[in-house]
Amino acid sequence: MSAEAVGIIGAGMHRFGRHPGVSGLQMAASAARAALADAGVSWAQIDFAAGGSDAAGNADTSVSLLGLTGIPFINVKNGCATGGSALTTAHAMLCAGSADLALVVGFDKHPPGAFNPLPEDWGLGAWYGETGLMLTTQFFALKIQRYMSEHGITAATLARVAAKAFRNGSLNPNAWRRKPLSEQEILASKMVNYPLTQFMFCSPGEGAVALVLAQQPQPGKTPDPNTRTAAESAAVAVLSCCTRCSVCSNLASDLSGVHVWL
């Protein structure tokens, strides 16, 4: 099966935000049902699934909510690239002819505040975390600081980028951040890691996205480059709560090889 004959035929999303009392797996099942409905197929027809979260459990246990159909379901845990890696896995399975119809789901339910990964899980000594170096916000700040120096960029530019993202979020009912913020509000928000303030970061949140992939275009549906943007946006949201960071941007370019038949 060539990659030309594999594509996305449905997308579904559980809105991002804070959802007390709703588990990550419940959001995953909700997104999966929406994607199945969008694709016009049933869960029983799906013969392969892949998915994952960072902090909200194993994707395959969503079968207890969706139905025990016996399908192979691969759990992915790959940091910010979890959703993208699940999509790549399903795409490869379809290209290999090992499945006809696949579901991909990415979801999460992060507690508020910065991540606190353990250095031992990342091949580093405990000293690295004990001395206060194990922070993703630090890493982003160190990277942007150098980038700003090399390219003559100011904090005002960072604020403009963030304001654009908040403005986009205000137009999307599924977005995590739905209130537009001015550049001044962004610059004046709490300093997190110099020069990055609170609203220059995409803060950890909650939500879920699912996609349905098929080997062949469904009857009446043909690959259309003009409809690709919507599904790419959904696919990007599989792994994160916004489209501001480089990981998501990289995923968007990775998706250039995946057809969309919506």
Binding site: L142, R146, P195
Partner: protein, 139 residues
């Protein structure tokens, strides 16, 4: 003084040095030291004590208390912001480190830095970790 971890830096009567490794085949230097080369994959590496001075390649200030664990200090109320940087040791490697300076107005990319030891956060007196400080007179 006791190092926070074995094999990270020398800690005795002489001035401290970071303990890195260097590939015998392609020359690439790594810190912390590792048993194989991250670039060419050769397993022929030797220990190398790194230069004590370098320049600040990038920096930030940690403005909120990191969660504990993994941070050793569990009382957020006692938190003081601290500097973090990548220090480029010429011809060797860029090292991520705590900085002794946390004032954004006194940090700039390219400034000369030198290795020092500071009390390890949240540990008993005498336990130290490595850090870089601005070279006096050249700020």
């Amino acid at each position: 003084m006791t190092p926070i971890a074995a094999g990270l830096f020398t800690c005795g009567a002489a001035l401290p040095r970071l303990i890195g490794s260097q590939c015998a085949r392609c020359g690439v230097v790594a810190f912390p030291s590792q048993p194989s080369c991250p670039k060419c994959t050769s397993a022929k590496v030797t220990e190398r004590l790194l230069a004590r001075r370098g320049t600040l390649w990038s920096w930030t200030v940690q403005c909120f208390p990191p969660k504990s664990p993994p941070y050793a200090v569990a009382e957020p109320g006692a938190f003081q912001p601290y500097g973090v940087g990548y220090v480029e040791l010429p011809g060797e490697v860029r090292v991520e480190a705590r900085l002794t300076e946390a004032d954004p107005d006194r940090l700039r990319i390219g400034m000369p830095m030198e290795l020092t030891l500071i009390p390890a956060p949240g540990r008993e007196p005498g336990v130290v970790t490595y850090a870089f400080r601005p070279v006096r007179g050249q700020e």
